[in-house]
């Protein structure tokens, strides 16, 4: 596929993610911060976000699996996840976290469990699109470095 076609595909993908509410303006900020001196910035941030999020989702699942739930710990992880999703522009994930925090504050176990499922759902939807995005980015970068040599 030509470089132009790759770029076009990436643009279409990212635009659709904005339209669907998966991403918000913060993601545009990240794109603006990527330039010649740090060509892999967006990819790096996305990768960190995914690693962080999956770690926290695992911990949250464990915590809510306990007979007696430690809501303070749950809240701390949800707070972190909310922060990361906000920093990367992952709008739907962030919104799901806000809902999660509510249930946590109410010490509502059922609510927390359903909120966790929602966060997971939103996260994995986003994750699969991020994967495609990163693959496209990589192929585009490969073209660019080829042309520079």
């Amino acid at each position: 596929m030509s470089l132009m076609a790759l770029r076009e595909r990436l643009n279409v993908l990212v635009n659709s993610m904005f339209l669907e509410g998966l991403l918000d303006q913060q993601f545009r900020q990240l794109q603006m911060l990527q330039d010649a001196s740090s060509p892999g910035f967006v990819a790096e941030v996305i990768t960190l976000f995914c690693e962080d999020s999956e770690r926290m989702l695992t911990e949250l699942t464990k915590l809510l699996d306990q007979a007696v739930v430690d809501y303070q710990k749950v809240d701390a992880y949800v707070h972190q996840l909310k922060g990361s999703s906000s920093s990367v522009g992952a709008q739907n994930v962030k919104l799901a976290c806000i809902q999660f925090k509510q249930f946590c504050e109410e010490n509502n176990k059922e609510g927390c469990l359903s909120a966790l499922n929602m966060v997971k759902h939103q996260y994995y939807s986003l994750r699969s699109k991020f994967d495609t995005m990163l693959q496209l980015e990589q192929r585009i970068q490969a073209y660019d470095s080829e042309q520079q040599n």
Binding site: Q29, L30, L33, D35, V45, F49, D52, Q80, K82
Partner: protein, 200 residues
Amino acid sequence: MAVDAEAQFHVLAVDDSLMDRKLIERLLKTSSFQVTTVDSGSKALEVLGLKEDQTSTSALSPEHNEIEVNLVITDYCMPGMTGYDLLKKIKESSSLKDIPVVIMSSENVPSRINRCLEEGAEEFFLKPVQLSDMRRLRPHILKGKYKEQQLHQEENSNTNHIIVGSSNNNTMSNKRKAMDEEVLSERTRLRFSSSSLNVI
């Protein structure tokens, strides 16, 4: 000894989230700052040359520190030492208190913001921090350097002698500090009006 407005200033960024550290580092570098990032308040104090239980840096005077930090930007919510605790330690230190400190937080809590501003924070940024927020940093650094210069000039002159920043350790309230600063600027204003020298 004029302050070069284009000089590269060094910012110390403190955040326990790796993602946020990457982000703030990129924001700062894009805005032409030199950056050091650390993941905790205690590491920040180490970089600043202060051990947790000290109130002044070691025998080396500030000018001889290997790492000169012009501004500290820190997250509020961190495990262990919070950004507020770090702010307090910096403002309580005789050698570090003039370093401007900016607090970042993902939560917009007015009482929290006021508390930080009262403790001496220059600004409070809501996360996620934007590129446009970076423009607000330089004035705080320059303001501090300008004051520093004024101090040196005052110390060097034979006529006016001002002692600012005496032994603190919580005895100086922010109100009194604000008053001292007013007095200082008043005297410099008078000096400038009486002589046309020393234009920065």
